[in-house]
């Protein structure tokens, strides 16, 4: 029987980093092993013995693409331990900051990383040769997201203005004026992006996924909500560890997250969209329906459209927040630290990001647990690859390899907090 093996080599020489291995025998996929994630154990260890105030800035260093997500999960978890509630305009500013990060992260992925796959280009440089204006639009949109993060976060990368209880400094109403004009342009560009991605060619591919995301009574979720799924899960964030587990798998040092007793699950834009379509702004809903998406989308390849809808939502939501903004009297809620345990999930661009901290009387961190979205999606990516390769088994090697990469990119795996990226090649036996 003819046996074919798809292997992925890592670019970086880092022990324990990414690899993909697919073994095909005849027309059957015999084995899929994916290892793209390193758990942030180093950071969990680094946090031990530090004062709680340092957690947002230390964890922000885990990822250059989604530092805001790490900051948000950290502050919410610690605030839960301290019994602190952040409301009003400070809460709105946190949502605004998250809008900036979603715009940056999603635009980078849609334009620079994912779109070339669908249009048959090896990378964005080649795409830019034929479509310079489209790529320039993506860069400009991303820059607008940067502008939000810079204004609120204090600087473009690794924002430093977030603290437990709120911010170190909050902007004046005046400071938002110039930003609002940029955001209006961005909202129009995002609408164009939804239309543009909707007409890309998509393979037919669907699985019976369990989507997991936050659900809030009134909002498309960023910082708060219950953890729900399309298969009946509905729990408070504090019950996360009762329902989810990280399993060691034989083929790698990495951990695979599972829903206990149920297995793989799917987090990220597609999960959020499918569980919260009714919470999108009317403009984003209309654009999604106009792009041919229903309120539920099961094809992970179409996540590029869903990401574009979320970019549109983020611009729309950012404008809503800015228009209603009144500078708060205090940049943060004051409190006295005490011993406690707190946990939080927020919606990072790639899906739910769980943090838990145990603190002593002085507010020193005794231990910390961090579960990023890419570790949670790892098992479902394996499952997609298995099914996708079965379905596309007769494709020429080069194309099959390309499409495997594309199937991985559907999840925008955070190569930053996960691993340096991979190069694929196929070996035949």
């Amino acid at each position: 029987m003819k046996t074919k093996t798809i292997k992925v080599d890592t670019l970086a020489r880092v022990e324990g980093e990414g690899a993909l291995y697919v073994k095909i025998s005849g027309d059957k996929v015999m084995d899929v092993k994916l290892k793209i994630f390193e758990p942030p154990r180093f950071f969990e260890a680094l946090l031990r013995g530090r004062i709680y105030k340092e957690a947002p800035d230390i964890t922000a260093r885990i990822c250059g693409i989604c530092p805001v997500a790490y900051q948000m999960s950290a502050v919410h978890a610690i605030e839960q331990a301290m019994g602190v509630t952040v409301g009003g305009q400070l809460r709105e500013l946190r949502r605004l900051l998250y809008c900036g990060e979603w715009i940056e992260s999603h635009t980078l992925h849609v334009y620079m990383l994912h779109a070339p796959d669908f249009l048959g280009y090896p990378d964005v440089m080649h795409l830019a040769q034929d479509y310079p204006d489209i790529v320039k639009r993506g860069l400009q949109m991303k820059k607008t997201g940067n502008a939000i993060v810079t204004l609120l976060g204090g600087r473009e990368v690794h924002p430093i203005n977030v603290k437990v209880g709120g911010f170190y400094k909050v902007p004046t109403k005046q400071e938002f004026k110039q930003l609002a004009e940029k955001l209006k342009w961005g909202r129009d560009a995002a609408l164009e992006t939804v239309r543009w991605t909707a007409q890309l060619p998509f393979p037919n591919f669907e699985q019976d996924y369990e989507f997991v995301a936050l659900r809030h009574p009134a909002e498309y979720p960023f910082n708060e909500g219950r953890i729900i799924s399309n298969k009946g899960l509905d729990i408070p964030v504090q019950a996360y560890e009762e329902h989810f587990a990280e399993e060691h798998v034989a083929h790698s040092n990495a951990l695979h997250s599972v829903l206990k007793g149920r297995g793989a699950y799917f987090v990220g834009p597609l999960a959020r969209y499918n569980l919260n379509f009714d919470r999108l702004s009317p403009l984003a809903q209309e654009a999604a329906l106009g792009a041919g998406l229903g309120p539920v989308c099961l094809n992970p390849f179409q996540s590029i459209i869903v990401r574009s809808v979320e970019i549109l939502y983020a611009f729309d939501e950012a404008l809503r927040i800015i228009e209603g903004y009144e500078m708060p009297d205090q940049p943060a809620v004051e409190f006295n630290p005490h011993a406690g345990v707190g946990s939080a999930c927020t919606e990072a661009p790639r899906g739910i990001l769980y943090h838990r901290y145990r603190l002593n009387d002085e507010g020193l961190i005794l231990d910390a647990k961090i579960v990023p979205p890419t570790s949670q999606n790892q098992k479902i990516i394996e499952s997609d690859l298995r099914r996708y390769v079965e379905q596309a088994i007769d494709l020429p090697e080069e194309q099959l390899t390309w499409e495997c990469e594309q199937a991985i990119r559907n999840y925008d795996p955070c190569i930053s907090c996960a691993t340096h990226f991979l190069k694929l090649h196929i070996e035949r036996e």
Partner: protein, 162 residues
């Protein structure tokens, strides 16, 4: 020497929590202490798109980054992006899929490369999680600091045209 120096951006790239990937940032820390006239030092743990934004209006840019090519750890390379081909064997360390190489490639296509762009690269040894540089890379960092200082001084002294 003229007193109105042309501005040179000195951009160090990297992640200090990825061991030798922090080499570019270590160079920046040293350069900041030196307070070179006419030079602005920027530490960048950013993706390539942000990098393109940082250098957008700059005429003269020197980038410092860690690479892996299989050479001796601590080895130093210098490339003039406009006149030299960067060997394919060199891979810029990046924790992002859109990193330095992609930023240079895309900026070239979109005609957004700074007119004077030099890269100093240093061969890393260990890119695992953790803080601190390998001994060999630490030495290389000191060498790059000296080279960049003298490059900045030469640019000012000889009015090196763009």
């Amino acid at each position: 020497m003229p007193t109105n120096y042309p501005l040179i951006l000195l951009i160090g790239i990297g992640n200090e929590y990825r061991s030798d990937d922090g080499a570019g940032l270590a160079v920046c820390k040293e350069l900041k202490i030196k307070k070179l006239p006419g030079a602005q030092v920027i530490e960048c743990g950013c993706d390539g798109a942000v990098l393109m934004e940082i250098w957008k209006d700059a005429k003269r840019v020197i980038l410092i980054d860690a690479v892996s090519s299989g050479a001796r750890p601590g080895a130093i390379y210098r490339f003039d992006v406009h006149t030299e081909q960067i060997p394919l064997s060199i891979s810029f360390q990046s924790t992002h899929a859109f990193g330095v190489a992609e930023a240079i490639g895309l900026a070239r296509v979109l005609e957004q490369l700074p007119p004077y762009l030099i890269i100093y690269a240093i061969e890393g040894k260990n890119y695992g999680n953790g803080k601190g540089l390998s001994q060999e890379v630490e030495k290389g960092v000191q060498q790059i600091v000296e080279l960049v200082i003298s490059e900045v001084q030469d640019t000012h002294q000889y009015h090196i045209p763009i």
